[in-house]
């Protein structure tokens, strides 16, 4: 997926590494592949997910495939700014 790094991402994820169980479903499902499991372990012994690169679209797919209620928050660029950004 090509991505123009000069522009801010349309979306952003907040990942709670202490709620993540490292199942990898979000990594697999993310269309622009911006997620991966970290090398380190969290307190419970799982490799937590991290967002390692630009390009999140805020699609929310990772949120819906994730079994943990609070592991992922998906944010989107506010409409107004998104418009100006992508006009």
């Amino acid at each position: 997926m090509s991505h123009d790094r000069s522009k801010p991402d349309r979306g952003r994820v907040e990942l709670n590494s202490e709620e993540c169980k490292g199942c990898g479903l979000c990594v697999e499902a993310c269309p622009p592949k911006v997620l991966r499991l970290a090398g380190h372990l969290n307190r419970y012994g799982y490799h937590p997910v991290t967002c390692f690169t630009h390009g999140c679209t805020g699609c929310g797919i990772c949120f819906f495939v994730c079994p943990e209620p609070g592991a992922i928050i998906v944010l989107r660029a506010t409409a107004l700014e998104a418009e100006t950004l992508y006009a």
């Binding site: 709620e19 479903l25 819906f64 079994p67 928050i73 998906v74 506010t78």
Partner: protein, 481 residues
Amino acid sequence: MASYTVAYEKSKSFFEAYERKAELQHQTHYCPGCGHGIVHKLIANAIDELGIQDRTILITPVGCSVFAYYYFDTGNIQSAHGRAAAVATAVKRARPDSIVLSYQGDGDLAAIGSAEILHAANRGEGITVIFINNAIYGMTGGQVAPTTLLGQKTTTTPFGRSEWNEGYPLKVAELLASLEAPVYIERVGLGNNKQIMQAGRAVRRAIENQVRGLGFSLVEVLSPCPTIWKLDPVDAQRRVREEMPKTFPLGVFRDRTKEAAARPRPPAPPPIAEIPRILSVANGLPRTKAESQRSTIQVDLRVKIAGFGGQGVLMLGEVLAEAGLDAGLEVSWLPSYGPEMRSGTSNCHVRLASRPIDSPLVSRPNALLALNEPSLDKFLTSVEAGGWVLYNGAALPDGCARADVHTISENFTQLADELGDSRAGNMVMLGALLEATGMLSGDSIRTALERLVKSQRWLEIDRQALGRGREVARRGGFHAS
């Protein structure tokens, strides 16, 4: 700098923190990649969207999802294994304005609970059932389930499920869709993002149907169990997507949401004040003697009555207990009998006490009424020293005597025959017990009989029988007071 607003976050229908353990208050107990968490989120989102958090009651099953009540900030009832649909029925009928969700796995719903779900669906109960099908028993360690796929290896089908041995996978959605009453039945999967979004729509519809007052809705969700399937979560998800639908096709099996009429509301319960009339105790509940009238003697009577079915064992106990009630005592009456109602052994435990009764079970009686020899053999040794043994026979059989208890042996049945009906032998025996022990006033016994015996003829026979029993005791030199 772009600013961002939240698009998706933890539903407010979940608790902030889960109180299941001191640690781990922000994680579910499910294995990594388990479908339960995903479905929980879909349900919670639907509850948020429909604005029904404060009137939702979640009925949780036995199985991996037994702890769902730790997560949902709604009403919660955890039910016995397989009974969730029956519990949901009761809750919905008692609280028609509540939104009642029955959440069940395949071991719970399709095996031990197959009767409950079938009949709840057939009655068209106005509940919503979310049925998680992962084709295996998860919590108990991977035994075959009714939904296990043909050829699938489990701990109890180590060579794979065979149709000759375990039968075919049970297709719950199709089965229930053959019934007349259900309004909406759909099978969805958690095989990829697209399927999960469809599952979310189905869950929401199934709940919305209930908000609209329609009848039974069920969503069957094909769900991964990576742990027991021994697959990593991504491969388990692939199996849900590629293999399971070959046996369990996805789709809508019933949709009458457009034409279905709202289910009629159950009639309002009668006012409390009406209940005595309905129970035919309109003249007040049975009176008990006021505290002040109670005897100051401490009563602790533990009676075991044993005989064959048909000898009036249970009735004897009932009269005794009813008379105890009339005397203002604490009372318990516990019948115990085999499957045979006639000529099987039957016994009953009665306790009368001045103080609250801990257990209705009488294992150390201070009075044994043995209506036949086997009952005497069985229970004689259990009688407390100083207690009473009344035996329905001319004399105690050889080797049965006990020096440390009071014994009255008499052919009570024969005495009843003389009164015209051998079935009154129980009352002759009761008369002897009352006379010998001096417990309970004649008044209380008369009141009890009048409450329990409806036929005038029998009332008369029973009164005479009690009198005969009293004579027997007096003749034997037993006469309290």
